[in-house]
């Protein structure tokens, strides 16, 4: 499982600096876990209070950016907070097969590996 050992380096090549967060009043960097199997890398991030409609996952070039806007308070005292985190994606992911789900304030982002890098079982034909 050579690929497995290489994943961290290739996926999280360099975490982006926080320059994009400048200008927002409350910014949080959510905690993130990475899991993997042969088919995909699964990113899990804590985003409590974020509505699905206020969550954006961008992939621009190799930069994967997660942004969640959270509106707190009610009528009288509304304020907004921003969750922000970005990573540089390595090669070997299928850019068209990125799926996100938000469950109990936790984001599950499935990054499918491209077919080329998936380990393959080679059938041995018995003569």
């Amino acid at each position: 499982m050579k690929e497995a050992n290489m994943t961290e380096e290739s996926l999280v090549k360099k975490e982006q600096s926080e320059e994009q967060t400048a200008g927002c009043s409350v910014c949080w960097m959510p905690g993130v876990d990475f899991y993997e199997n042969d088919d995909e890398v699964l990113l899990i991030a804590d985003l409590p209070g974020v509505e699905p409609s206020n969550l954006a996952v961008h992939l621009e070039g190799s930069e994967l950016r997660i942004e969640g806007r959270r509106i707190q308070g009610t009528n009288g005292s509304k304020h907004e907070a921003l969750y922000h985190r970005s990573f540089r994606l390595g090669e070997g992911f299928d850019r068209d097969k990125i799926a996100a789900e938000l469950k109990n304030g936790v984001l599950f982002l499935h990054l499918a590996r491209s077919e080329q890098v998936k380990p393959r079982q080679i059938k041995i034909n018995v003569a």
Binding site: V12, D33, F34, L42, A45, G76, N104, V106
Partner: protein, 151 residues
């Protein structure tokens, strides 16, 4: 305003009150030395919690991402509100971990409710990983509109 809240909703540390004397001493300071409650609040400020005052209620909001309803316990006893919860940390089936920042957590937070709260009408909800406890004010504590009679 924040200081006022902190006094009212003085967070209680369970291990703090090991004996009645300590409790007496603490109660002497209640309302007089906000600093002590500030410190207690800071210590108990995880998970992130926000307390707001609305016209007819107080709203206590705690971030508990990934915690399910079954893993939360909310109680009011002797006018002390206790929130307890736990997040189990299980690797998704068939996956291996390679980077970990989140994890298992458990919390227990207690707050002494001010007299202005009618605890019998308290309500809680869990939505998008945020636990919200609504603490209605007693009728006496709610603002009153005074009608102006036209002579």
């Amino acid at each position: 305003m924040l200081t006022l809240w902190r006094n009212w909703f003085a967070p209680v540390q369970t291990q703090y009150y090991t004996n009645e004397l300590q409790r007496e001493i603490d109660s002497l300071f209640e309302g007089f030395e906000p600093g002590a409650f500030f410190r207690a609040w800071e210590q108990k400020s995880w998970p992130a919690t926000e307390l707001r005052e609305e016209v007819d209620s107080y709203v206590l909001q705690t971030d508990v991402p990934g915690v399910t309803r079954e893993d939360i316990e909310i109680r009011v006893e002797n006018n002390i509100l206790t929130l307890k919860g736990e997040r189990k940390d299980e690797a998704p089936k068939g996956f291996k971990i390679f980077r970990k920042e989140r994890g298992h957590f458990s919390f227990s937070k207690s707050y002494r409710l001010p007299a202005q709260v009618d605890a019998s009408r308290a309500e809680a909800k869990l939505d998008k990983g945020v636990l919200t406890v609504l603490l209605p004010k007693t009728p006496e504590a709610q603002p009153k509109q005074i009608p102006i009679l036209v002579a």
